[in-house]
Amino acid sequence: MISAAEALKDFKKITPKTIPLVEPFSKGHRACQGCGEVLALRLVAKAVGMDMIAVSATGCMEIISSPYPQTAWEVPWIHVAFENAAAVASGIEAGRKAMIRKGIIKDDGAKIVAFAGDGATADIGLQALSGALERGHDFTYICLDNEAYMNTGIQRSSSTPYGAMTTTSPPGKVSKGQMTWKKNVPMIAAAHNIPYVATASPAWHVDLMNKVKKAVSIPGPAYIHIFSPCPTGWRCPPETSIETARKVVQSKVFPLYEVIDGRYVLTRDIKKPIPVEEYLKTQRRFSHLKEEDIAYIQKRVDGEWDRLLKLVQVTNEEA
């Protein structure tokens, strides 16, 4: 199988002037006002185009896009269950591979894209994701991360950041709320040695679309983790979703990078980071945090950023 680098040799970037006009995800969906996740989904869909077979896990995006008889999907789409988007996508890929090889259908170049939330990816769906990545199926997995089980009412996931209030990690008299650090799923995906992994934020929409376009043009599995602001769950005004998606990157809380054939590539080097507090204070899910909590978060964010820079250095030396 060819490497990502080889597959990307003739990659044509999307630029602000050449953003595709096509909308494989239609208007009239029922996402909340200001939903950052559905915007991310829209951008992904535009980057892939109409030659897409979409698989959704149960979650916000599945629910808001498919209340019978209203479907927002202009492309073939299937939803099966909560934890198996990667397994369903594997089956579609295997079926098409066999049918194309046996001459039953023509190779129409359709791209298989699985969409799942953080719950469906980091928790209940981690096994299926790992299996699909290990088996090397030719598909792209998009994790739309709004940092909790939002669809069922804002319960915590292993992707909920330290200190965030959720309904199952509420701050109270004897607990500060979410006390574990956010699980690093992009790096888990990278540990499977797949050709392409990336993180993205809708505040850098062209970068997001280019990463998606790269992912679908590279044979084999690709994983993209997209930061998806949720005004409803994070308790912030709906108009601030993009600003939040910007601050999370500028504060180094959510670094933007790619892992191409195992080589870490920083998308944005944050030379003048803003303090994490600037990011945290925009959402009421963090409003209960004390100075020492914020200091702890700053320390860990800084430490993880340094570690990422070292990964960039080491993996580029290896190359």
Binding site: M50, D51, M52, I53, V55, E62, I63, S66, P67, Y68, P69, T71, W73, E74, V75, P76, W77, I78, H79, V80, A81, E83, N84, A86, A87, V88, A89, S90, G91, I92, E93, A94, G95, R96, K97, A98, M99, R101, K102, I104, I105, D108, A110, Q127, A128, S130, G131, E134, R135
Partner: protein, 391 residues
């Protein structure tokens, strides 16, 4: 013209799947299904079968991958047992709701706990309501033929439902039996390529698995119910076709020496053959007994069953699973329900036996017949007995 082989039944099952030219096999190993999927892997690896073998990381993913594959329009197969079947549970309902013609061979094995690798029907009895067509094979030849039949029925545009072929773990999967394996031309003449009426295709985009809001859920379920009921004539039709093509006839309910029988055993799966042998012995002793063997379990062929048992005074139902909290095993409970509205219904005695592969001997069946007759004539309330429990 087919060839006569002495082959382990698991391998014959795999050969049958190979002859059906499946496109995708997504499976996870579990005793006693393992030989089926291992042999399929070999067939693929040696180029005898052009298919994608997806070594999924769990049975839940196996069934999920099968759903994806079948939705894409590929002929799809899987196999499992016991805990694996239980792990697939939530997806099984979805497979039938999405009307996907997945074929699955279930190597019946006892459900934990305690953990047991041996044969009984507790795994499939826990899946009665999944909306799949379900058949039971009694011997190796049936496994082969029911597998071919399953693809033909499932993929028929009048049906479009997943189908499970049950074969007893170890008792069938791991025994070597003489069978006739059809040749490729015969199978191709019987089973045409899969032509789905709808699939995931960019040329005709559809949305599958939408939210079943209250305004549509009932109707969606009604449609599936009707589909399962209406599959009966197609099932029978394709058994007739199988008889024409391969010379072996199958019916939803099989009878053995039932004509003047006063007591009838009711069995499913391979135990039926032991019971037939026991019936022969009892007949030699002058007892008027016979056996009714259920081959089609879902949709249950009520009329065929009623015809088969007509005239019998006592039924001795052989259950190979428990239904705790209900005073009888699952098969007897269902049969009693069906008989409730019939005039002139027989006395139904229920025997739960052969759990976790425990042998049931012909003398035990003779004993059961005596007990059933005694209970019937003494007017005892409907009777259920766990056979051979060490007190």
């Amino acid at each position: 013209m087919g060839r006569r082989v002495g082959l382990e039944v698991s391998l014959a099952c795999a050969e049958a799947v190979g002859l059906c030219n499946v496109d995708v096999i997504a499976a996870y190993p579990i005793t006693p299904q393992t030989h089926i999927v291992e042999h399929l892997s070999e067939l693929v690896a040696d180029g005898h079968l052009d298919a994608e073998f997806v070594p999924v990381e769990s049975e839940h993913s196996a069934m999920s991958a099968c759903v994806g594959s079948s939705a894409a329009g590929a002929r799809t197969f899987t196999s499992t047992s016991s805990q694996g079947l239980a792990l697939m549970h939530e997806i099984l309902f979805i497979a039938s709701a999405l009307r996907l013609p997945i074929v699955m061979a279930v190597a019946n094995r006892s459900l934990s706990g305690p953990i047991s690798i041996w044969n009984d029907h507790s795994d499939i009895m826990a899946e009665r309501d999944i909306g799949w067509i379900q058949t039971f094979a009694e011997n190796g030849q049936e496994v082969v033929d029911l597998t071919l039949h399953a693809f033909k029925v499932a993929e028929d545009s009048r049906v479009c439902l997943p189908m499970a072929v049950n074969l007893d773990g170890f008792n069938l999967t791991h025994v070597i039996e003489p069978m006739e394996l059809p040749d490729q031309e015969q199978v191709d003449a019987y089973l045409p390529p899969f032509k789905p009426s709808q699939r995931l295709d960019t040329a005709a985009p559809i949305s599958m698995g939408m939210v079943g809001v209250p305004e549509v859920y009932t109707e969606a379920k009604k449609a599936c119910l009707e589909a399962l009921e209406n599959s009966y004539p197609v099932i029978v039709e394709h058994w007739k076709g199988l008889a024409e093509q391969f010379g072996r006839e199958y019916k939803p309910i099989e009878t053995y020496r039932t004509d003047d029988a006063e007591l009838l055993f009711v069995t499913m799966g391979s135990m039926g053959e032991t019971v037939m042998s026991a019936v022969d012995q009892m007949r030699d002793d002058g007892q008027k007994v016979g056996v009714v063997r259920i081959r089609l379990w879902r949709p249950f062929p009520v009329d065929d069953f009623m015809n088969a048992i007509a005239g019998a005074k006592v039924l001795a139902v052989i259950d190979r699973a428990l239904s705790p909290g209900v005073p009888a095993g699952p098969v007897a409970t269902e049969l009693r329900g069906m008989l409730y509205t019939k005039d002139d219904r027989p006395y139904v005695a229920d025997f739960v036996c052969g759990l976790s592969g425990r042998d049931v001997t012909r003398s035990q069946f003779t004993e059961m017949a005596a007990q059933a007759k005694e209970a019937a004539s003494s007017g005892k309330e409907m009777f259920c007995q766990m056979v051979g429990v060490k007190e």
